[in-house]
């Protein structure tokens, strides 16, 4: 399947005179794991923010499953099937892991206060379904033993897993991950990668991942999009990108491919 | 249409006077809001405090209005500093909402302390309340004359301070972007302390001016114009000192001139605060960053 799921065209965004996005255009194919790489300040997270509705672009179009979503409110983008995770995981620390998952459940009639009183059985049965799905996902992610723990007690890597689980509760077609491996212990990082692969293979979830660790990028992605200074400078298979002179030049002096230490790019 | 023009001139003058009070007070409130991220719900009480210190000096100790105003400025600046050092700074980091509640509590304490000490009766400064100076086109009361005199001195001084002095520029920088200012080497903590002195002093001045212009006042003086001060801050853009200066004048002028009979009969005077309220709601709906603020994402 090479249908295009996400199409970004001519995206522009400036902050006080500085162009964070400068005619950025790229596509993400359905069912792929696409990596978004580039030096610091290239505009990757800004692109994610614009796509997921957390930022209003100055210009450009964004199409998701054929539908234009630029400027759409962030919760509506999520409900359309495009869910993002954050660079620093934003789990609800004062709620249990299970509650974090339950909260993310889709189509809950219980979220309408009137229905809690007027249709209690419908609310209760949906709650049961959501609960079951949460249990399944927690098991898949190997977080089940922590279900009743406060999310605030989780380690960084566990929080990332929880964020992934939460995203999956929304039954997304595509998930945006922002540096999922950053600050995660190697064992958990490997698990995270494994989950991404499995979710794509078994559930057909498309992933677009911002990543600095080139080993990760090489091993898991089908396609790589390279951004620099607000625009896309190259796209292709991991091998092609690794050999591309243009890409190497963009990174020259800023970071070495195999050691994954993001340099301080201006 | 001579009478109508005269009416307009009078309203413009009144508007400029009210506007300057709002502008000067607003500068302090806006800088505090921008630097400390606290909406100071006790700000009105600083004006009240200033007005009463001025009263004690003026009516009680027979000082001139100028000396009384100066005394009010110093006293209120010190009060603001004390509140900051003793209460607000140690409790920083409790979160927006908790800090707001704390300023509400401080405001309640201040207002009722004034009620207890000075009593609820209506007071006046020792100026001839019935005198009027006829300047041909407009007429002004002694209180208004004093306010104008103060404005002519303080407003340019304030503009100079904010624009030319290192401290003034630092304050504006920190109010705009504290992180960037810190990186540029500004001692954010110290600036944050000085800004309370400034805000307090301006509030004290504003309170004295307001009391002199209004003629009669009681301890509710500050609380009643608190929302006008906030409207000024929002209109100018939170954290923008120049914005507050402009916004205060605009708000004062709009409120006064709206009652001009040349505007299809004009608004009835008693609806002026409602105009300000509608302006506030409209601002929040369509342009919450005000005239000069930056649109910040949540």
């Amino acid at each position: 399947m090479t249908a295009v799921l996400l199409e970004v065209q001519g995206l522009r965004k400036s902050f006080g005179g500085v162009a964070a996005l400068d005619e950025a255009s790229f596509v993400v194919e359905e069912g792929s794991i696409t990596a978004l790489i580039g030096p610091n300040g290239a505009g990757k997270t800004t692109a994610f923010n614009a796509i997921s509705g957390f930022l209003k672009p100055d210009a450009g179009t964004i199409r998701f499953a054929g539908r234009r979503i630029e400027g759409l409110r962030n919760d509506l983008v999520a409900r359309a099937g495009l869910v993002r995770a954050f660079q620093s995981p934003r789990v609800l620390t004062r709620m249990s892991v299970m509650d974090n998952m339950l909260l993310a459940g889709k189509d809950q009639p219980g979220e309408r206060l009137s229905l809690t009183w007027l249709a209690p059985r419908r609310v209760a049965s949906r709650e049961l379904e959501v609960h079951r799905r949460a249990l399944d996902l927690l098991e898949l992610l190997r977080l089940l033993p922590l279900a009743e723990a406060y999310a605030g007690t989780l380690s960084g890597g566990q929080r990332k897993l929880l964020e992934l689980g939460r995203a999956l509760m929304v039954e997304p077609r595509m998930i945006l991950l922002d540096e999922p491996m950053a600050g995660v212990a190697p064992v958990l990082a490997e698990q995270l990668l494994e989950h991404i692969r499995r979710l794509r293979a078994e559930r057909g979830v498309t992933f677009c991942v911002i990543e600095h660790d080139m080993d990760v990028v090489m091993s898991v992605s089908d396609r790589v999009i390279v951004m620099d200074e607000g625009r896309v400078i190259a796209e292709g298979t991991p091998d092609a990108i690794q050999r591309s002179e243009r890409v190497i030049e963009a990174y020259l002096g800023r970071f070495a491919p195999a050691s994954a230490t993001p340099g301080g790019a201006p | 249409m001579h009478a109508s023009l005269q009416e307009l001139a009078q309203l413009v003058l009144n508007g400029v006077i009210t506007g300057t009070i709002l502008a000067l007070t607003g500068v302090g409130a806006s800088l505090v809001f921008g630097i400390h991220r606290v909406a100071n719900f006790a700000h009105g009480e600083y004006l009240t405090f200033g007005a009463y210190v001025g009263l004690v000096l003026n009516a009680g100790l027979a000082q001139s209005l100028a000396v009384s105003a100066a005394g009010a400025v110093v006293a209120t600046a010190l009060l603001a500093l004390a509140v900051h050092l003793l209460v607000l700074k140690p409790l920083r980091g409790r979160g927006l909402v908790a800090m707001s509640l704390i300023t509400v509590g401080i405001g309640l304490m201040l207002r009722n302390a004034v009620f207890m000490i000075a009593g609820p009766q209506i007071r006046q400064y020792a100026i001839d309340q019935s005198a009027v100076y006829d300047l041909g086109l407009v007429r002004i009361s002694p209180g208004q004359a004093v306010a104008i005199a103060i404005t002519l001195v303080v407003a340019p001084a304030m503009a100079l301070f904010l624009g030319r002095t290192p401290l003034g520029k630092s304050m504006r920088a920190v109010a705009d972007n504290a992180d960037l200012a810190a990186v540029a080497g500004i001692n954010v903590d110290r600036v944050g302390t000085y800004v309370w002195l400034l805000a307090g002093g301006l509030a004290g001045l504003g309170g004295t001016m307001f009391a002199a212009v209004q003629g009669a006042f009681d301890p509710n003086l500050g609380f009643e114009i608190l929302f006008l001060i906030f409207t000024t801050v929002v209109l100018g853009g939170i954290g923008s000192a120049y914005g507050a200066l402009v916004a205060g004048l605009v708000l004062g002028l709009v409120m006064e001139v709206s009652t001009w009979s040349g505007l299809a009969g004009g608004l009835e005077a008693k609806f002026k605060p409602i105009l300000a309220f509608v302006a506030l709601i409209g601002l929040l709906l369509y342009r919450p960053q005000g005239l000069f603020g930056r649109a910040r994402i949540l």
């Binding site: 962030n74 709650e127 939460r166 | 809001f33 929302f227 709601i281």
Partner: protein, 326 residues
Amino acid sequence: MDVLNPAFWTFVAVIAGIYAILSLGLYVQFSLAGLPNFGHVAFMAVSSYTMAILVVRYAVPMPLAAGAGLVGAVLLALVLGIPTLRLRADYLAIATVAGGEIVRYLAMNLPDVTGGPVGSIGLLGPGQIALYNGDWLAFLDRFAASLSGIVGARVSRDAASAILVWCFVGVLVLALWRSERSPWGRVLKGIREDEAAVAAVGKNVFAFKLQALTLGAILAGIAGLLLAWQIGVFSPEDYQPTLTFYAYLIVILGGMNRLLAIPVGAVAFSLLYSGTRLLNFFPLSLIDSGSRAFLRLFLVGFLLVLLMAVRPEGMLGNRKELLLEK
């Protein structure tokens, strides 16, 4: 009133119940949704004035007039909430302070509409006494009569009122308790901590906040109606901004997120408040009764600062959650 007079304490019980309802409304806005509403009393004022004006001037039947009063409170909530709930929390605080001030100003300065400083008595113009709660009193008398029949002893009007109000408080507490634990309450709890995370999983944060604000406004409106009915005549003085902060004290004293503590807090507060009226001994007798009102308010402010200061960070959490704060 003499402290041993049971009628006095019955009256206090009614007022305590009304404060409980007002505070429960604030609880929904502030504790459940994290919304700083500093003009809560304005919802009370809008609903009672609307009701009184409709009854006195347009002979609208009381149930309809009461409903219209609540609609008025909702409208005010929309005017204040729609512009501000997408912005930082401070903006709501500012808008509600402004709203409270404007409502009070309108009540004072439009005598043709609201009776001015004189209050509801003046709604039919000078020289006429306007009363609106005839229907309510008749209803109370009937209710008291049937209660007397059941209990076997005479139930006074005030006692009937107290029973009615506290039954309502009980129902309200149960309803809110259940709502807190519903998916709706869960989303609000998430919003309190991190709006962006909740929006990222597809919840319309603005809509939830607006619902909480409106629900709280309706409850305040009910409290306003009950107060107006209880005291029979009201003026702008009865809806001072300080009432908002009494409600805050009640909510905070109970522990900001303990629903069940609110009725208890309301009773404690009312006892303290009424009790200070009776403190005629030295040194408090030194302060004349006029100043005592200011002293009381001064203490309210002091308590607010103290309670906020003494509560550790994580003001919206309970003890277990507190341990999570770094």
